[in-house]
Each structure stands twice: as C-alpha cells, then as structure tokens.
C-alpha cells in the first residue's frame, strides 16, 4: 500500500491514454498514408464500380497487368536463386574480394531508378560493352522486355541477399557439420538441413522482391521506350494514362496496384512473424 502511494504521480510505462504525442503521430500518419489511400479509392470508384472494372479489363490494361506479373515473377525467381547463392558465398566463404562484393549488394537501393535504367541502356545499347551478349542470343535487350526484366532484377536485387545473410549467420555451421559427419553429401546437407532452417527468411526476401518488382517504374520506363500494348507494364500504363488525361484509367489501375501492394504487405508481415517465432 505504501509503495503504491509512493508510485503515484510517476507516469506508468507504457502509458494508456491518447496523449498529445500519440495524437500528433496518428494525425501525421493519417495525413501522409491514410488520406492518400482513401483519395485514390474515391478517385477510382467515383464514377461507379462498373466503370472501374471496365477500365482495368480493357485489352491494354490487361496486357499491362499480365506483363507486370510475368516480369515480377521472373525477377523474383532470378533474384531468389542467385541471391541465395550470393548470400551463401558472402557468409560461408572467405576469399579476396568478398568485402567488395558485399559492398556492391546495397548499391541498387542507393541508385535512383532512372539512373539504373540509363546504366542498362549504356551497357546493352548501341555502343554498349555487353551489346554482343543479347546479339549472340538473338534477342533485343533495350526497348524490349528482356531489358525491362534486367531493370526489375536490378532494383530488387538486395532483398533476398540481405534477408538471407543474417539468418544464415545466425544458423551457424554446427548442424551442417553434424550432417557432414553423418556422411551426408554437400547437396543433401543443403537441401535437408540448411534450406529448411532458412526458409522463412528466404521467403521474406522473395516477397519483398516481388512487391518491389510489381511497382517498379523509373528504371523500366527508361529501358522500355514506351510502346503501348507491347512493352507496357501496369505502372507505365498509369503514367501514359495520366499523360493522356485519361484519369479514369489511371486511377483505376493505381487502385489495383495499391491493393496488390497492400496484399503483398500482409504476406510480408505474416512471413516476418514466422521468422520471429522460429528464429
């Protein structure tokens, strides 16, 4: 009783009230995140849900959605596979140049998407150093979907590497050593011991990659050359529709992408919870 008396007047932590800081934080978030979300919903649905549906099922819109989905899936697959190898090498191997490779990984996040697109044009374009590569394969790189795929891979590259690395490091090598001792091969050990242990971190990285790939705009815009219906992704569709003052189409597609990223975010949060529980 006496102790309770002494404690009176000392703020309890955490505090259970709408105090001024709470109100400011809520209002700021409402202004910055909630209001724009409500606005795009209102903007897209203001002329009726059927009008919205008509806009997003037009041939151009459907084509753009399809291309976006394909590019995002392909970029996620490439970055999942190569990102896993890279994370493995950066954590488990020790060789000269490792620190340099490690430093390279973060760069795509620091580089403006427009510059990323420019880089790819310079590398694979008319007088590019690697122009021979697509030529040899008989594909067109710049102003076509292979270039857009590379652009998407570039901007979403760090996610898998950066999410898998800490999980691998945390896992350590003990269980793998036990497996080797028991006579398991390198591949068996990876498949039965390592991969199950890191799968949630790996999936988390992939879902971040996918979400980022769905919404990529700047790099893809520069590389695509913008031929409508041919090399147009969902974001490029929105951009062109805004330019053409076809606001109904732009807002409808923007709402679709916003909803898609909302779903991706829920998926991301769920996998994050799994990582926390399973370590």
């Amino acid at each position: 009783m006496a102790i309770a008396d002494m404690n009176r007047g000392i703020p309890q932590l955490p505090e259970r009230r709408f105090k001024l800081p709470v109100i400011i934080a809520l209002m700021y978030t409402a202004l910055l995140v909630v209001a724009p979300l409500l606005a795009i919903t209102w903007g897209a649905l203001s002329s009726g849900i059927y009008a919205t549906l008509r806009e997003i099922t037009s041939p151009d819109a459907l084509h753009a959605l399809k291309l976006t989905l394909i590019l995002a899936l392909a970029a996620s697959a490439l970055n999942a596979l190569l990102g896993l190898v890279t994370a493995w090498v950066l954590v488990r191997h020790d060789f000269p140049g490792r620190a340099f490779l490690n430093a390279l990984v973060d760069l795509p996040f620091a580089i403006s998407p427009v510059i990323a697109g420019l880089m790819l044009i310079l590398l694979f374009g008319r007088q590019g150093w690697l122009k021979a590569l697509p030529d040899a394969l008989g594909i067109q790189m710049v102003f076509a979907w292979p270039g857009m795929l590379l652009a998407t891979v570039f901007v979403s590259l760090p996610f898998v590497v950066r999410e898998v690395m800490p999980v691998l490091r945390h896992l350590g090598t003990e269980q793998e050593e036990v497996a080797y001792t028991l006579g398991a091969t390198y591949w068996q050990t990876f498949w039965n011991v390592t991969l199950p242990a890191i799968r949630w971190g790996f999936l988390y990285g992939i879902s971040l990659t996918f979400a980022r790939a769905l919404g990529e705009f700047g790099a893809v815009l520069v590389v695509s050359g913008g031929v409508s219906g041919m090399t147009e992704t969902a974001t490029l569709f929105i951009f062109r529709s805004m330019d053409d003052r076809n606001y109904a189409a732009a807002y409808s597609m923007a709402l679709v992408l916003a909803l898609a990223s909302f779903c991706a975010l829920i998926l991301i949060e769920l996998t994050k919870g799994k990582i926390r529980r399973r370590g």
Partner: protein, 286 residues
C-alpha cells in the same frame, strides 16, 4: 585466439566436401553482382567522362542542371528534417505509449514502402490536385500544392516516412526502462526524461534514419514526375532532369548528372555502413 581457431575450422570445412562447388558458387555470385551492378556503374561513369572533364563540368553546371540539383538538395533536406522529427515521435509513441490502434499504426507505417512510388504520386494528385477534395480548397486560397514545390516535399515525406521510424524503433525497444524510471523517480517530467535520457541514446539511430531518408529522397523519381509538373528550372528535380536528358538523347549529359548523383549516394552508403560497423564493434565490446 578463438577467432583464429574458428577461421581455421571454416577453412577446413570449406576445403572438404566441396569438390566443384567452391569456385562455381563464388564465380556465380561474382558474375551476378559484377554484371548486374559493377559493370552498369562503370558504364555510366565512363559515359559521363567520355568527352572529357570540361564537357562533364559544363553539363552539370548548366543553369537548368544547377537549378535541378539545388531543388533536389533543398526538398530532400526539408524532408529529412521533418521526417527525422516526426519519425522519432512515431517510434517513441509506438514503443512507449499504449493506445487503441497502436498495432494498426505500426502496420500503416510500412505501407509507403509497399506502395509503388508512381501510385503515391497519383494519390497525391487525386487528393491535392486542383480538382481534388483538399486541393480545390487550397487553390481557392491561393496555395498551389500539386505541380509546385510543396507537392514534391509532400511526395518525399510520404515515400521516406518509414526510414527514421524503423531505424529508431528497435533501439527504443532494446532499451531498458530503469534509467527512465530513475529519472521519473527523481521528479523528471516526461519531456525531461525524453530529452535527457532517451534522446542521447537514440540519437545515432535518428542520424542513420536521416541519412537513409536523404539518400532515398535525392533519387526519388516515380512520385515526383507525377506531382511536380516538371517545369524546368522551377519544379524539375535532378532525377527528373536526368530523365529529360535521356528522352532527348543527350546520353553524355544524362550520364554526367548521374555520376554526380551517384557519388553523393555512394558517400551516403559508405557513411551509413561505417556507422553500422562502428556500432557493431561497440556492441561487441560490451
């Protein structure tokens, strides 16, 4: 001693059981990062300096380029300042206050990272554009938001909101309550406890978040190209200017400007990296 044993063990392990794998894996990783990242960066640096240092300097000091650079640095600076304060506040509220809707607030803060930045731009045009519900009121009162500078800052604020919050939040979560409680017991107000006890401890995290915010803000394109109206010299930021140069087939100019922006981003990445390493060292010694 123990680290050298660990290293030896690692080497033994890496030599055994990896007949073909070692160099195949390393080669794959090196080729992936080399072709995807190192070569593109090298290509743009080469293109920027291809026609000599004088041309490089000439194209980045053109009046339009300088205005774009100045606008980018200014809007990124304002954004960093506002979001450092508001992000710290949001992180503090999320960790130290309990209120209905706290978990929803926590989830909402990640949304700007999930939503495509182009869609962010469209959202702001709908809300604050001349025909929008809020924008029409502002226009009637003589304030232009969209297709003007306030729109750029607003877009940047939204796009970079999570950085400071997500950088400060874990530090606050890891902090023990005893020092704050001691401050309260000694009669400190919440404000004094925050300023004297919490703030010095979370300041490094705020700086890291601010650097990330600034880095993201100087490169932002998707939301700004929609919101700014793209008026050269007035509302054209550096990345939008680079896009204009690419469109008009001025590869050298675009590359020169890119090299300048890249160097700035590299310095920011290096500083963030260095601070992270220093922190890990300090935490390890504890």
């Amino acid at each position: 001693m123990s680290t050298s044993v660990a290293r030896l063990e690692k080497r033994v392990l890496s030599e055994a059981g990896r007949p073909w794998g070692t160099w195949g894996l390393r080669g794959t990783a090196a080729a992936y990062l080399g072709v995807m990242i190192a070569l593109p960066v090298a290509a743009v640096v080469h293109a920027g300096f291809e026609e000599g240092l004088r041309r490089f300097w000439g194209s980045v000091t053109e009046p339009v380029a300088l205005a774009a650079l100045r606008l980018t640095l200014m809007t990124a600076g304002i954004t960093t300042l506002i979001n450092s304060v508001m992000g710290t506040l949001a992180a503090y509220v999320l960790v130290r206050h309990e209120f209905p809707g706290r978990r929803i607030l926590n989830a909402l803060i990640d949304l700007p990272f999930a939503i495509p930045t182009l869609v962010t731009g469209v959202m702001l045009v709908v809300l604050y554009g001349p025909q929008g519900p809020v924008g029409s009121w502002f226009v009637a009162h003589g304030v232009e938001i969209v297709f003007a500078r306030p729109g750029i800052v607003l877009a940047l604020l939204m796009v970079t909101y999570p950085f400071v919050v997500r950088s400060v939040q874990p530090v606050l979560l890891a902090m023990e309550l005893d020092q704050e409680e001691a401050a309260y017991t000694l009669g400190a107000s919440r404000w004094t406890a925050f300023w004297k006890v919490l703030f010095p401890a979370i300041f490094p995290a705020i700086v890291t978040g601010a650097l990330l915010t600034f880095g993201r803000a100087i490169g932002e394109f998707g939301s700004i190209v929609i919101v700014s109206g793209n008026i050269p010299g007035r509302t054209q930021t550096a990345p939008v200017h680079v896009f204009g140069l690419i469109e008009s087939d001025n590869t050298m100019g675009a590359s020169a400007m890119s090299v300048l922006l890249l160097s700035l981003s590299f310095v920011l990445v290096l500083v963030v990296d260095w601070r992270q390493k220093r922190k890990e060292l300090r935490d390890g010694n504890r």
